[in-house]
Amino acid sequence: MFVGRIPLHRRSLLQAAGATVALTAVGGLPRVAFAVPKTIKVGLVMPATGPLAFFCEHVPFTLGQLKQTLGGKIKIHGTEHPYEIVVKDSQSSPNRAAEVTQELILKDKVDLVVGFATPETVNPVSDQCEANGIPCITSGAPLEPYFFGRKGDPKKGFDWTYHFFFSGQGLVGSLVPFFNRLDTNKRVGGLWPNDGDGLAQSDKERGFPAFYGQHGFSVVDPGRFDMPASNYNSQIAAFKAADVQIISGVVPPPEFTTFWNGAAQQGFKPRVVFVGKALEFPPAITPLGDRAIGLTTEVWWSKFHPYVSGLNGQSSAQLADAYEKASSRQWSLPLGFPHALFELVFDVLKRTQDLANAASIRDAIKATDYKSIVGPINFNKGPFPNCAQTPLVIGQWDKGKKYPYEMTIVDNSTAKDIPVGGEPHPIKYA
């Protein structure tokens, strides 16, 4: 839309291209270019409003912490450079995410773009950066929907865009040892909707059913459904008829409430309930009351993680406490990731040879080998190119001390360095 506002004539374009070439050539002489402080612009795209906004509750706090720690300046190879973070709201829409990323690149002329939370945000942001040759780091979406959702080729990867989070295979790999520690009949009911996550997880060959099958679990899959669903009677009836004792699903919180109340009304009492998206956030857990006790969630970050921030030296527990103090809200899983994202940004900038050169920033991202508050990040070790996989453990909700319900880590089979706080337990019914 606003591209039209920039007068882009053939001649000026050629001149600009020439200038860029000249600039790149000058960039080859490092020490000279570094003497002058350059304002570094970082663009941030996130769903600050709309249905995905609950992922971004912590970002303003993280930005505040950054300002407090760095004071708006960053020291790179001996020179202090001012930096600026331009925040754009995707309004939870993929189209809007692409639009504001273009704006960041073409109008704000940012040096680096970061994107946070859900494939609906990070995929369009990354695609725009890839097309425009701007270095980009994203997080907050499982690796498969990021990599394959963008039609990534495992042999080639991407040129400009990098991503870190847990992977779907990592998730199912963490769930199976947890299920195995509980006494069940190994019958899994799939609550997989007709959306990106649901289709990926329910895939017969590459998704969860195949993996469960290999490990001796049988899967009852009543089929994809559209959301919002007014009720889950047919799924519950199918699970009841097949004597399902484990639920494995991925639906947003309102859908889970409908399912979970329906299960009670129909007298369906599964022993283990794991539902991604729905069970990670205290604001979604608290309204369930005591029926939240024993529900299972995957844990991508927690206050119990043994990792420390390379930015301000805070431990995971200290970060959670600082957040609770500042916001008077309960900490939740997404708190660690925006922090890690900016840890990474400043680590990358400190290692960049030539700040004026996008390719140089990209090379620094590529060479990342960093210990962040969410775990080690290395883009060359991921299951796919350009991706770094962060550790995952399994948690369950219990009655809390400080807050009505608190999450405890109960299984760390796939990440032994993260301490457990309790034993896995099936859901108890009155």
Binding site: T49, G50, P51, A53, F54, N194, P222, G223, R224, F225, D226, P228, A229, S230, N231, N233, S234, Q235, A237, K240, A241, P252, P253, P254, T257, T258, N261, G262, A264, Q265, Q266, G267, P283, A284, P287, G289, R291
Partner: protein, 288 residues
């Protein structure tokens, strides 16, 4: 096998009660007052948020909060009609749709501004999960049963009001022809406002049940509107009992469709609606 089907149909019928409860207010405004209120779902969501403030903020029991909200919504409906909707009513069909559409956007964004995007729920206590085992694998949830009975009662009351009372006769007169009603000395603007006040009261009851039955957020209004519309059109304009039957048909169609494959649940409801609509565009039991 028979048991599974019986169960599905039974659950579908109960679900129909809930759809009907959402649709009653719409049935009055579309069927009797003859205008389409796009903001119907958002108004219900807004009342749910008021209930949330009363129960969460002030700590009132849910039932008391609903009792407080019903008269407020009654007055709110009256004022909404008198101050806003009446100004565009009768001009042409489009302007009232645009005004209520705008209202819908204003409500959604105002709620987002005041309450944020968090997903909310009002606690209903033990009734939410209470269940009555009928036989074998068939259970009936207490809350869906209460909702179904409430919908039936509410429709019976409104039907009495509309077809057996003086004010009902006046509302119907104005609905038939504003000009003639004005000629015989009825104050049509006031009567419309009273009708909208009644719609407001039914909205408060729907909001109460919705807030207990499921989660809601500022943007969940429009998704509730579609099925309510189908129930109203299926039952026939102006027929409140028709709306109940319309809701039940959609509920049962969804339950039966889902029994084949979960992907068919929502689609089956729409297909049955379309099939009946094509053969009987006037609905099953039209009053007019």
């Amino acid at each position: 096998m028979v048991e599974i089907w019986t169960n599905q149909i039974l659950q579908g019928v109960l679900l129909g009660g809930l759809y009907a409860l959402f649709a009653i207010g719409l049935s009055l405004s579309v069927g009797v007052m003859r205008f389409v209120n796009i903001a119907h779902g958002d108004l219900i969501v807004m009342i749910s948020f008021v209930l949330l403030s009363l129960t969460g903020g002030l700590g009132l029991p849910t039932l008391a909060a609903v009792a407080i909200v019903i008269p407020i919504s009654f007055v709110g409906g009256y004022l909404l009609q008198r101050l806003l909707l009446q100004r565009v009513l009768g001009k042409d069909v489009l302007s009232i749709i645009l005004v209520t559409f705008g209202l819908s956007i204003v409500i959604q964004n105002a709620l987002q501004g005041v309450y944020g995007a968090d997903i909310r729920k009002v606690g209903g206590g033990a009734i939410e999960t209470a269940t009555i085992p009928l036989s074998g694998n068939i259970n009936v949830g207490v809350l869906p049963l209460v909702i179904f009975i409430s919908a039936t009662l509410l429709i019976w009351l409104l039907d009495l009001l509309l077809y057996r009372s003086r004010i009902g006769a006046r509302i119907r007169a104005v609905s038939d022809s504003v000009a003639t009603a004005d000629l015989v000395g009825l104050r049509s603007a006031r009567i419309y406002a009273i009708a909208m006040a009644i719609v407001g009261a039914t909205m408060a009851i729907s909001a109460g049940f919705m807030a207990i039955w499921t989660n809601f957020d500022p943007t969940s209004g429009p998704s509730r509107l579609l099925i309510a519309f189908e129930a109203v059109v299926l039952g026939g304009l102006g027929n409140l009992w028709g709306t109940l039957i319309g809701g039940i048909i959609i509920g049962v169609a969804q339950a039966v469709g889902a029994q084949f494959d979960a992907a068919w649940q929502v689609l089956a409801g729409h297909i049955v609606f379309l099939a009946i609509f094509l053969t009987r565009p006037q609905g099953l039991f039209p009053k007019y």
